[in-house]
């Protein structure tokens, strides 16, 4: 639910990184924070458990400059990926304008990706949002693990599992080394802004 401030000519929009636990959502945000530190005035907020897992959400406010004369401020969130935190995931999803689904390329996590994507669809429905209509980008994370001999799903397999119905843009990424993290972000920003731009005309 983006907020358009006609007095300050400012838009605030919410982008949420979704996906299974230990898939790299927080790592994405950490990389964004590191890369754009000069543009991000505040510290990244992270509500974690003692075991360093996201308990509630991570949060990063991000000024992306002007679009059509409006200052655009993004509020980037991650959800906790673990199945048991569904209630908090739903809270974070409230008012979402754009979604990045971070899938784990490891073969072991194949089922978890599909369960999490279905969960995203169900939770969006609670807010009367359709996963087929909301700005959405898929990120196939941890591609670098293949080079280390860890069995990973092929992009074709990931596409078939997750994207055959959705048909949205996807990126092969490695959040840990920052590969395609910024590209994923740019894509979701442009999709989200395109869906808002009618209002800004």
């Amino acid at each position: 639910m983006a907020f358009i401030n006609l007095k300050k000519k400012e838009v605030q929009a919410k982008i949420v990184y979704y996906g299974p636990g230990r898939g790299g959502k927080t790592t994405n945000l950490e990389h964004i924070h590191k890369t754009f530190r000069d543009r991000i005035s505040s510290e990244m907020v992270a509500i974690k458990t003692h075991g360093d897992r996201t308990l509630f959400f991570d949060f990063l406010p991000f000024d992306i400059g002007q679009i059509k004369g409006y200052d655009v401020r993004l509020q980037i969130y991650t959800v906790p990926g673990q199945v048991k935190y569904d209630a908090t995931r739903r809270l974070v999803l409230r008012g979402v304008d754009g979604l990045v689904f971070v899938a784990d390329s490891m073969q072991l996590r194949r089922e978890k990706n599909m369960v999490s994507l279905k969960n995203a669809e169900d939770n969006l429905k609670l807010y009367k949002k359709d996963i087929h209509k909301i700005p959405l980008v898929l990120q196939y994370n941890k591609r670098d693990l293949g080079e280390q001999g860890i069995p990973v799903l092929t992009v074709d397999e990931l596409e078939k599992d997750l994207n055959s119905d959705l048909q949205v843009p996807y990126f092969e990424a490695s959040a840990l080394i920052g590969e395609n993290v910024v590209e994923t972000l740019k894509k979701i920003i442009s999709l989200t802004m395109a869906s808002l731009s009618k209002e800004l005309e």
């Binding site: 639910m1 983006a2 907020f3 358009i4 401030n5 006609l6 007095k7 300050k8 605030q12 929009a13 919410k14 005035s41 505040s42 510290e43 907020v45 509500i47 509630f56 959400f57 949060f59 406010p61 401020r73 509020q75 969130y77 209630a87 908090t88 809270l91 974070v92 409230r94 008012g95 979402v96 304008d97 949002k129 808002l196 209002e199």
Partner: protein
């Protein structure tokens, strides 16, 4: 899905915040939406909080407490108050979509603030539509 507030609405909201809270000696008052966006934000000029992070956490916190309310059979807990040594925070729901956050020091009485919040909430409801 998005919503917009125009200049006159936002000025009316800021006037209410100024008159009801800032002139009373409150340190900082924000009207936010439940997605964590800041609609209006005024402070006393002496404090500077990271209001964007604060809004994100406040919206999350309020959502979490509402979920707890449901678990004990309540529709909601419509106000929350956190007391600190020097700064305290008061949260109050305005409509289903908006939340008022007030940060104040020891010099402001909680009882008086609650009265002011109740008055302000009625005025906000008129502007925002309930």
């Amino acid at each position: 899905m998005e919503y917009a507030l125009d200049q006159s609405q936002l000025e009316a909201i800021e006037d209410i915040i100024r008159q009801e809270f800032i002139e009373l000696g409150v340190h900082c008052t924000c009207l936010i939406d439940m997605a964590g966006n800041i609609v209006a934000n005024l402070d006393d000029g002496k404090t500077s909080f990271d209001v964007y992070s604060l809004a994100a956490l406040a919206a999350g916190n309020f959502g979490a407490v509402s979920a707890m309310a449901n678990m004990v059979g309540e529709q909601e807990f419509s106000l929350l108050f956190h007391k600190g040594k020097t700064e305290s925070i008061h949260f109050s729901k305005v409509t289903d979509e908006f939340l008022l956050i007030t940060i104040f020091g020891k010099e402001t009485s909680l009882g008086f603030l609650r009265l002011k919040v109740a008055e302000a909430v009625k005025k906000f409801e008129k502007i925002l539509g309930s």
